[in-house]
Symmetry: D2
Subunit: 266 residues, 4 copies
């Protein structure tokens, strides 16, 4: 590989600032919320709970990349407005996924972090477009992306001038079908070793199984992750999508306590 | 899976008409040309050769999805103009890849078929956008897409009203590193068995090795493929990208002769 | 890689002689029979049919490597005796799988070819043991073996003095779950290009789906295969194991006719 | 799946006793030593160091399953004698790999635990043979084995009467080539959730990169592992095999200290 902006050889580790939250600093950052934004009321009620327990950033999907065109595709721009409004009311920065180059400018009015999902990691037009903004970008790993491809995807954003890139490992596609994906914590350790970007882990998609989320959350932190993105819901069984991997508020509280205990040793 | 437009249960097999070429009919369709459009002169010189030997459709990349942002990204709109102009001069329909929703409308002025590349198979915004046109779409399989995900990607296009969808198997990502990808001809046979869409095979990306292209071309036809997309070049060793998998004109002539011989038995 | 016995640089292509059958010669060799030997009577009845239609070698499993210890494990030595007896009665060479180093010597009394199954490709003790005999060995590819590992497994046998090695591609393990395995015909073409060993293809395990076996059989031959190993049964639906991928005698007849037609062009 | 001995529904979690070490109890068990036994002197010198720093079990390979038949295959029975002798001298239980059914009885005289390597996880003859002993068995996961296949492999041993089975996750084969394997900690969490067997993790093979071993060791413990198997050497750069993933004694000391700190919270 040529000399890259993502490489530690190039410069210091990058810390991404989102309002008063630092991603890549000492404190581990917790991003949580429902998979999809279902309504203003339901998002507000979960956001209040998340704020109360100390979650740092609120997540929620407005544009949902669903396998079938006949599945619920998200509330779209209406969803952007809801999460923006809810974030202000509970005083939490928000993150949401954008999938179309034409929505990037608009998104800047509504979200504090733009998420590039796994399915769009190779969408170089989109990467270049978000690279022209100064908005922090959470770049999920493609489901079969190699370390090199993932880093180059980050480089696409940085080469346009936006250094606020956060990587997110969310599991890769393998032959194993017991779990939805195989969480690849090896790369978390590798990235902290050699590269400049902060990295967080999504144990919800990384396992697909609610009962594995607590252990894999701590495991991710010990592999070096700077934070976690976890799907939570007031009533996980009733979540519109990804119910099987969504945890409840009390389960999230327990994970956050454990993260603090283990973090003492770093 | 719900009842889908791609399913044979829904209706007859689809034949896609591109000028006077039928994809999905009796005759196997050969699409060929360089990986990237390098200049008007070089594309014209290869296009003349391809026309002479009976190739049906001219391919060439104007927008190139490269792993590194520092690699040659294609001639972009200038490339679209070149391939359109060359196609007219040699009287061949042309195909080129589009990666950004904002380029779809423009592309309609220049190309006879829009190619959606492997990296954008999950780019649902782009699929919906091309679904709103009537332009034939060649939809490559994502590098780790399951049959179900691939068919649903086609369904995204068809659900918007564009039935002119051609699938293209181009190899999947596996643990095997000897070949660039693993060409999955199983799915070619499966798709011809149960689904309505024509399917062609790209043995260039499917193997990554020039010396395997002739055998895998015939093998693909026998698995049921309706045609082939093959990277060729007047001087393969000097191709700007993908040189290792690019074949020469005489090699292409030999493959086309073999395809004709074997097709007699279907 | 160091200089290897499997390499064409080392010497001429190897033809393996089994009684009066040549594997690796002009004629494509068809190996067929049931997955498991169920009884003398049932094997004899299918063997007579197979002989009649021109199958070259009779297969049948005596030792069955089953995922669960509670599944039928085969008739074991009794099965060896049955296949040996049936082979003599119908005048067909026979092939059966051996899994234990302690059974190799015994097997020499009963079978004309020893099959090393996918699960034992890395069982180097077994490879060395069969390498000390002169019995032809059919070496299936491990389910996630690279080309290099597979060739070295063959080399283990040849280094002990037994040059009668036949490779068998039977599909690899990938993320795709629609088919049981992904048949990797790329490697068939690659092996014919550079290596000395004959190679046959098993489209039954390679697809896991009976309806894909005919197309993939021809496809394999066109990729360069020297023959096919196909699971067949008088009454496929009633096969004790692998019923879903087993074909009937009339289906096999059709495949053999097609193989002959296509072979005319090589 | 049918009702299995490995399932928690069947009975309590299994603790495997090796001399006075308990695997599956409160204390995390550390297994360490060189990849291959090189000589009596070198093994003794590292064993003394390992004993001094509190390692619980000494590992060392006598029979080495190497990809090439021309690579060093281990000291074989001479190696068994060496590790047995060294174990006694330094008062540490020992573990070594057995690959051939004919070596199982002999191994009982020399080793406290028999390791079944990744390449032999599907070697059902070997599994049955070790199942007939009472020797504790460390069963490594096959390089592309699913959870179900791995558990059934354990079941093969237990069904013969030997309940002393320890699982060992050592990374799976995926498309990612940056690391030697992809360590699948998801399954560690899954196994502790639902199954009875103790499980340890091998971060040396699981990453293939020495610099990732410390973080992945702690990460494995937090995912629920009952211990670690780590390749160490007095002089890692000079190890005969697997040098790239072997750590030094001081590095091992640091890992063991961290394991103790983190274990306080379970």
């Amino acid at each position: 590989m040529e000399k890259l902006l993502v490489d530690k050889v190039y410069g210091e580790s990058i810390k991404v600032k989102v309002k008063d939250i630092i991603i890549g600093g000492k404190e581990k950052v917790i991003i949580s919320g429902p998979c999809a934004i279902e309504s203003y009321e339901s998002l507000l009620s979960i956001a209040k709970e998340l704020k109360k327990i100390g979650v740092h950033i609120l997540r929620g999907g407005a544009y949902k990349p669903r396998t079938s065109p006949y599945s619920f595709q998200g509330l779209e721009e209406e969803g952007l407005k809801i999460i923006s409004q809810v974030g202000k009311e509970v005083d939490l920065p928000v993150i949401t996924e954008i999938m179309d180059t034409r929505d990037v400018e608009k998104a800047g009015n509504y979200t504090d972090i733009i998420q590039i999902g796994s399915r769009n990691m190779y969408n170089y037009s989109l990467l270049k477009e978000v690279g022209k903004t100064k908005i922090p970008i959470l770049l999920k790993r493609g489901m079969s992306a190699t370390l090199e491809e993932w880093l180059y995807a980050a480089e696409y954003i940085m080469a346009e001038g936006n250094q606020n890139v956060i990587l997110c490992e969310r599991g890769i596609r393998t032959f194993e079908t017991y779990t939805r994906n195989t969480l690849d914590l090896n790369l978390v350790a590798a990235i902290k070793e050699k590269y400049r970007l902060p990295i967080i882990v999504d144990p919800s998609h990384g396992t697909g199984l609610r009962e594995l989320v607590p252990k894999m959350s701590i495991s991710a932190i010990c592999a070096g992750a700077d934070g976690l993105e976890i799907e939570s819901h007031i009533n996980p069984e009733k979540a519109i999508s990804d119910a099987r991997q969504t945890i409840s508020i009390p389960q999230l509280v327990k994970i956050m306590e454990d993260v603090k205990k283990f973090t003492m040793y770093f």
